[in-house]
Amino acid sequence: MLLVWLSFSGNAQEKAPIAKDSLKPKTERYGLRVGVDLFKLTRSFYEEDYRGIELVGDYRLTRKHFLAAEIGNEDKTVDEDQLNFTTEGTYIKVGFDYNTYQNWLDMENIISVGLRYGVSSFSQTLNSYQIYNPNPYFGQSPLIISGEKFSGLSAQWVEVVAGMKAEVFNNVFVGFSFRLNRLMTQNKPNGFDNLYIPGYNRTYNGEFGVGFNYTVSYFIPLYKATVKAKEKKEPKSKKKKKKAN
């Protein structure tokens, strides 16, 4: 009977009322997790027109809530049919993650949804462009080399984040996240457009964007807190039933 009871309490620790017995109170670790986005880092190697780095961090506030932030720098050259431009700048995103995953025992995996507010400061250089001429009776214009630089640009946006992190070995986590971005405000250059925003990525009509990162991070435990069992007042008959088992 003791075995059955133990396995029961292991499976549904949160729900089962903790009986006054010899079970140790459950503790969970709180601390800071810092890491780097491998997706941006590897892209910098295999993509000639891209250089980027993103540092990620989160701090566990409550059992389920994490204060989260990303800070990064990107330098990307985009070659479109009609345009070629380079965007360079720095961004920071701050927000929170909510862990929806019920961990077994003392595992610390995370499947989270969250929100971020992102701010980016960047510049754009228009390298070259084409004139779109649908009636080229006199011929098309050759590629026009510009080199015009638009500085002091900025953008702010909101991200909805869905992600997961798993502890692969002691305190080392790998994880990934998908992001849906919604541009709030932007400071557009005069005579050009923000077609790529560092941190936000490519801009689309309708002001929506998408993002992805793949992170490896290290958890620095700071303190432990005891998990408070939820006091559930169950009818006596139910308790009796359980004991009868």
């Binding site: 009609q82 084409q130 001429n133 080229p136 006199f138 849906l180 457009d193 309708g206 964007g209």
Partner: protein
């Protein structure tokens, strides 16, 4: 739940791509000319066998018949174009050639990711439109013309009215 989220994400991604990868905006405009009856200047008049060729071009632009509005492309690499305009070009006896030269300044303006840039034109004022007869004088078939606007940035308006 996760699958739905992924699908949603994919839908967002592709709905975003579709729209702005094809150039659908108005780009480099042409010069729009409307023809009027010289004896009744408020009435539109259709042209017949109007053969238009850019000066020095190996092929004609078009031969217009039964229309009162035509569009002429301007050169996005130069600041002037000259068109030979032969009315009744199919008739050996009635054909009449006039020349119209357009002098303008160009300005390249940003449109969108898919379209890139476009050129808009500003006709010189004065001297934006110069009307001359053919090398072998055959009288002018264009009686007069009237520049409506010197700024050519859309084809949704008339830039030049010609009376004949």
């Amino acid at each position: 739940m996760k699958k739905i989220l992924l699908l949603l994400l994919a839908a967002f991604t592709f709905s975003g791509c579709e729209k702005d990868d094809i150039c659908t905006d108005e780009t480099t405009p042409q010069l729009v000319i409307e023809f009027y009856d010289v004896s009744n200047p408020t009435t539109l008049k259709n042209v017949a066998g109007l053969k238009i060729t850019g000066d020095g071009m190996p092929t004609e632009l078009n031969t217009f018949s039964g229309v009162s509005t035509i569009k002429l492309p301007l050169d996005v690499t130069g600041d002037s174009v000259k068109y030979s305009m032969i009315l009744n070009s199919s008739s050996p006896t009635n054909a009449n050639e006039d020349f119209l030269q357009f002098n303008y300044a160009r300005n390249n303006v940003y449109v969108s990711r898919a379209c890139g840039y476009r050129t808009i034109f500003e006709l010189n004022s004065p001297g934006g439109v110069i009307h001359t007869d053919s090398a072998t004088p055959d009288l002018l078939w264009i009686q007069s013309f009237d520049v409506q606007t010197t700024t050519i940035d859309t084809e949704n308006e008339i830039h030049l009215k010609i009376y004949f």
